[in-house]
Each structure stands twice: as C-alpha cells, then as structure tokens.
C-alpha cells in the first residue's frame, strides 16, 4: 500500500495511461471472431448430424431425385459474387468514398437476395414434390443445415440494410467502419460455410 503515501494528484497519471491502452472498439474484431468460431461449432454439429443421418432416406426421395446441381452452381456463384462485391465495398470504405461504399453494399445485398430467392425456390420445389422435413432423417437434417445457413444469410442482409442506413445518416465514422468490418467477416464466413454445404450436401449427395 505504498501508493497511499503518494499524493492524490498522482492518480490522473495512471488514468491517462489506462485510457490510452483501451482504444474504443480495439477488441471488437477479436470478440467478433470468437463469435464466428462459436457459430462455426453450431454448423459443425449440423454437418455431423447430416453426415450421420444423410443416408437414411426412409424409402423416400434421395439426393439424386431432388437436387439440381445447375441451380446449386448458380446459387454458389451468387454467394461468391456477393463476397467479392463486399470486398470492393471494404476497399472503397478505406478510401472514404461514401457513395461507392453504399453502391457496393447495395450490389452485395442484391446478390444475397438472389441467393436467398433461389434457395427458397429450391425448398418450395422440394416440399411441393413431397420432400418435406418430416419425410425422412435425411431431409430433416438437410433442411436444418441448409436452412440455418439461409437464416444466417437473411440476418446478414438485415444487418447490411441497417448499416446502409447508418452510413447514410452518419457517414463513414469510426464506429460504422468497425461495424462494416464485422459484417465483412460475417459475410465471408457464411461463404466459407457454404463451401462445406455444397461439397458435403450437394456434390457428395449426388455421389452416394
């Protein structure tokens, strides 16, 4: 307790140093990365469930009867294009060009919406053919895995619209840059998960 001997006037010095070390949002990116890793574990569980149950058709439709690889290829292209356009949004954000950033975010959102529409069309088509989630363990695990990914993309689009409104109102301030960087990680992460989905669910399903 030697510090008690020091005059009270010395205290602000400690305060200043402490404030300097913790820049606002300095740990946000790492925290968000940890969230993504925990999200990755959710998808790992769903992939494991699909891997175990994916062959149990209960005498119902198999992947070969249901999947249209051409459609999945188009879907994959949409998500890949949205990844690169989000990258362009980040590059224009670095240059501080609000208009261009908003435009690229808009293009990214359109590709995301195209992806979702194609996926919903595929789901509707499958359900119309009687391949509902209740039909077999294969279909239950398929809809849970692919549906969870689709739900993530949906929330990513909601987030993107929110940030576009934020940027329109307040410009590319430090807080908005940080938020856009978090969404960037989220969006690219979803693309990484989709690589697993089209490989393990669609391509491997057609090989079964």
């Amino acid at each position: 307790m030697a510090s008690t001997a020091i005059a009270a006037g010395a205290e602000p010095v400690f305060h200043l140093e402490e404030e300097h070390a913790h820049a606002e949002g300095g740990s946000t990116m790492l925290g968000f990365w940890l969230y993504l890793m925990s999200d990755c574990l959710i998808f790992a569980m769903l992939f494991a469930a699909f891997g175990v149950l994916g062959g149990n058709y209960a005498a119902g439709p198999a992947p070969k009867d249901l999947f249209d690889l051409g459609l999945v290829a188009v879907n994959t292209t949409m998500l890949l294009l949205s990844s690169i356009t989000y990258g362009f949004a980040m590059l224009t954000m670095d240059k501080g060009r609000v208009g261009a950033t908003q435009a690229w975010l808009g293009v990214t959102m359109l590709f995301g919406l195209a992806f979702l529409s194609i996926e919903l069309y595929e789901f509707a088509h499958m359900i119309h053919e009687g391949a509902t989630p209740q039909r077999s363990a294969f279909l239950s695990s398929f809809f849970t895995l692919v549906g969870t990914h689709g739900l993530h993309v949906t929330f990513g689009i909601v987030w993107m619209v929110t940030l576009m409104v934020q940027v329109a109102r307040y410009g590319l301030i430090e807080a908005n840059r940080r938020r856009l960087m978090c969404l960037s990680m989220f969006w690219h992460f979803l693309d990484v998960v989709w690589i697993g989905v089209f490989t393990f669910v669609y391509l491997m399903g057609m090989l079964r």
Binding site: A44, Y57, F200
Partner: protein, 124 residues
C-alpha cells in the same frame, strides 16, 4: 496527426480487415476455379470412381476454405496478436473431433447393429 491516427488504427486491427484489390481479385479467381472443377467433376462424372471423386472434391473444398481465409478474411498468424489464429486452431480441432468422431461411431453402429438397413436403403 492524422497520419499518426492512421498508423494507430492499422496497428489496432492488425491484419484483420484491410485487403487490396489485387488480393480480392486473386481470391475470387481462385475460388471460382476451385468451385467450378468439383461441380464439373460431379456433373459430368469425369472420374468413374465415386470414392476417388469424393476425396478429390473434399480436397478442393479444404483448399478453397484456406483461400477464403487468406484472401477474404485476411487471416494471418499475426492478426490480433495471434489470438485469432489460436481461436481458429482450437475450433478446427473441435470440428475435426466432432465430425470424425460422430461419423466413425455412427458408421460402426449402423454396420454392426442394423443388419437390415442396407437392404431397406435399396428399396425404391
């Protein structure tokens, strides 16, 4: 002052976010190629052996995931002072344990406990 701020800013975020146009384009080109080849292989049945095809498309997926990590997510061993990489390695270990463990256990359970399953699978 602003230059100092910028340097500080870069330092805070490490390699977590900023990329270059060249980096994004290389990543995009690689992922298009790495997506197109597996789709082409499965759609045309280029290799007759299904098991070999499965192994090859899995290898392509792993390479593409690494490409996305490097060119889009800008992962380097140095980002966030190494903590991002540590979290990633930990997650990958867990994912490998969960996936391989589940598949291994359940495959043997199916093979040993349900002799009728394979016949049922062949039914239309």
């Amino acid at each position: 002052m602003s230059a100092h701020d910028h340097a500080d800013h870069d330092h805070t975020h490490g390699g977590a976010a900023h990329g270059s146009l060249k980096g994004y384009l290389i990543g995009f080109f690689l992922s298009v190629v790495l997506t197109a080849i597996p789709f082409w292989m499965v759609m045309t049945g280029a290799i007759d052996n299904k098991q070999a095809t499965a192994i090859i498309i899995m290898a392509f997926a792993v390479v593409q995931i690494v490409v996305h990590m490097v060119f889009f997510l800008h992962m380097t061993p140095a980002s966030e002072g190494g903590w991002s990489m540590l979290a990633l390695i930990f997650t990958v270990i867990l994912v490998v344990i969960v996936l391989s463990g589940s598949l291994w256990v359940m495959y043997h359970l199916n093979a040993n406990m349900m002799p009728g399953l394979h016949e049922m699978r062949e039914m239309p």
